[in-house]
């Protein structure tokens, strides 16, 4: 209820109040107050992983201090309490992404494990040697390599949707590549390297017109925008807790119940079984069938706290403030003489990849680090994309709602210094 009323009031949030809200939310993130190399930390590596608010840290702490026990196993009170907290987090996540049932929410270690699960449990039994898996040029390695492994196992082919120079998908090519042999489409909602927001509604609609299921890599979407898997009608949706202000080591695979139900288990062990005997084992019902072994209980509970936090802050604020950060950063960065942006999609999240003259991204990153600014440098786990642009990597500044306009100014002046030093 509280979350809802805060959210409502923020729908009328005005530009001039954004800064006040940012000031407030920054106080929720203990890590942001430190200095790095003698300068106040400017954390612009949010696409790699985001920082954690006090409420998430406290929830994890209090779980260990007061409630820890194993889940789904004991008759004792602590175990029941831990189970309730664990399953409550599942319900929180269900509501957060608009799934129909908690049976559709499978906890994984992260996006990577969720995508591997889809590849091995959903796709593998369905693929033949002439099948095709359709991905895109801008996928993260975690949405490429599981399909390549699958290709090695089945002989199926990984087919790549090309992109335009500005970093948007070539939808005409996509339409042509989508064929009778396509068994599954796997695409990122938002590119972690370019920030491009892909038209996943269109991709899902076109794929479904041919009865082809779609798995969305939503790792970069949930930190920036509301997601409703029901409205999207995607078949699978994967994301990671640590990129949305939650703990590391916890993620989610959403899958349509009918699909998950028909899939064989991904791993075997405790919790995922109904009964075990040497003459045969029956599997637990959804979603437990896919959660073998003692799960990341604290991480799951922390993820629930992260969802609560996002809902309290509200996507309305997040999107308004991040849009302002993005336009401000783009306009201030373009004043730098030697900057070259990689990816210029109109529809994009607050992720900016660029090169500074001939300077190697690592050198730029090291100089920025000396000035307290954390950016990512390298190929961002998207080597095929970097090869496409014929660059070894980029410098990437990725913003979260706790970043400020002042931090953009610090980034720009640091980049000026880096340019004069390195060039």
């Amino acid at each position: 209820m509280i979350a809802e009323s805060v959210h409502m009031s923020q729908e009328t949030v005005r530009e001039e109040t954004l800064d006040n809200i940012v000031e407030d939310v920054r106080r929720d993130f203990p890590i942001l107050t430190q200095t790095i190399n003698g300068e106040p930390l400017v954390y612009l590596d949010n696409a790699a992983t985001s920082q954690k608010p006090r409420s998430v840290i406290d929830r994890v702490c209090s779980y260990y201090e007061e409630h820890h026990s194993n889940v789904h196993r004991g008759v004792h009170s602590l175990s029941q309490r831990a189970t309730e907290m664990y399953e409550a987090a599942r319900e929180t996540v269900r509501g957060f992404i608009g799934a129909a049932s908690t049976a559709e929410i499978v906890f994984t270690r992260g996006t990577t494990e969720a995508l591997n699960l889809v590849a091995q449990s959903y796709a593998r039994p369905r693929l033949g040697s002439d099948s095709e898996i359709l991905v895109t040029m801008m996928e993260h390695h975690s949405n490429i390599v599981p399909w390549q492994i699958l290709s090695g196992q089945t002989g199926a082919k990984v087919v790549v949707t090309p992109i335009h120079e500005d970093g948007t998908l070539d939808l005409d090519a996509f339409e042509q590549l989508l064929g009778d042999k396509t068994c599954i489409v796997a695409v990122a909602y938002i590119s972690n390297s370019l920030g491009t927001i892909n038209p996943v509604e269109h991709i899902i609609e076109r794929s479904h017109a041919r009865d082809i299921p779609v798995v969305i890599d939503g790792a970069q979407a949930v930190p920036h925008m509301p997601v409703h898997v029901g409205e999207l009608d995607c078949d699978f949706f994967a994301f990671s807790g640590h990129k949305m202000f939650g703990p590391t080591g916890i993620g989610v695979l959403y899958g349509k119940e009918t699909l998950l139900d028909a899939m064989p288990p991904y791993q075997g062990g405790g919790d995922m079984i109904e009964s075990v005997s040497f003459s045969g084992t029956t599997f637990n019902k959804l979603p437990h069938k896919f959660e073998a072994g003692t799960p990341n209980i604290a991480g799951t509970i922390g993820l629930g706290a992260a969802v609560d936090y996002i809902q309290n802050v509200g996507y309305d604020f997040i999107q308004k403030h991040e849009a302002r950060l993005l336009t401000t950063a783009l306009s201030k960065l373009s004043e730098l003489e030697s900057i070259r942006f990689i990816g210029q999609a109109a529809e994009r999240a607050s992720v900016i990849s660029f090169l500074l003259g001939d300077s190697h991204p690592y050198d730029v990153g090291s100089v920025l680090d000396k000035m307290g600014i954390a950016v990512r440098t390298g190929h961002h786990c998207t080597q095929p994309l970097m090869d496409h642009y014929q660059i070894p990597g980029t410098v990437r500044a990725s913003f979260a709602f706790y970043n400020t306009i002042e931090e953009i100014d610090r980034l720009c002046s640091a980049l000026r210094k880096a340019a004069s030093l390195l060039q």
Binding site: N37, S359, H360, Y362, D363, S366, G378, P392, L422
Partner: protein
């Protein structure tokens, strides 16, 4: 920027980065070595002209960050004409200077001292050692070959 912050990119490093020495293919050469760091895409080919125990000439080509390029450039300057033994000893001293906490001061390092600033940025140590590791692997291979000429690879 104060000097502490410039430490990583001393003038000599930037000079080697912008005007690398022996930055060309060698003709003729007896050995080549590939130095590649997939994490950052740095890639150099090192050309060596070796006789049984001396590096007659050494040069390199390729692309990479200022640290790796300056290191490769200094390497080619320092190892031209060096014996295998002294080259490998220098590599070992350089490694020690980068990898061991509080290494003893070592005069043999010469210009390489400027690269020890990477100790404050540990992820960059790999950059400083990239070309050296490749070249020295080739030299070690050649020296084994020289000692036991009957072994073929």
């Amino acid at each position: 920027m104060d000097t502490e912050k410039e430490e990583l990119y001393q003038a000599l490093i930037l000079d080697h980065d912008q005007a690398p020495r022996h930055f060309h293919r060698l003709d003729p050469f007896s050995h080549t070595a590939e130095a590649y760091n997939p994490l950052c895409g740095d890639r150099y080919t090192i050309y060596l002209d070796l006789n049984s125990h001396i590096i007659r000439q050494i040069s390199f080509e390729g692309y990479g960050c200022a640290i790796s390029k300056a290191s490769a450039s200094m390497m080619t300057s320092m190892l031209s004409g060096a014996s295998f033994e002294s080259a490998l000893a220098l590599f070992s001293s350089f490694r020690t200077a980068l990898l061991i906490e509080n290494p003893p001061s070592d005069d043999s390092l010469g210009d390489l001292i400027t690269l020890t600033g990477v100790i404050s940025a540990p992820t960059r140590i790999k950059c400083a050692l990239l070309a050296w590791e490749a070249a020295c692997t080739a030299i070690q291979g050649a020296s084994r070959h020289a000692i036991t000429p009957e072994t073929t690879n």
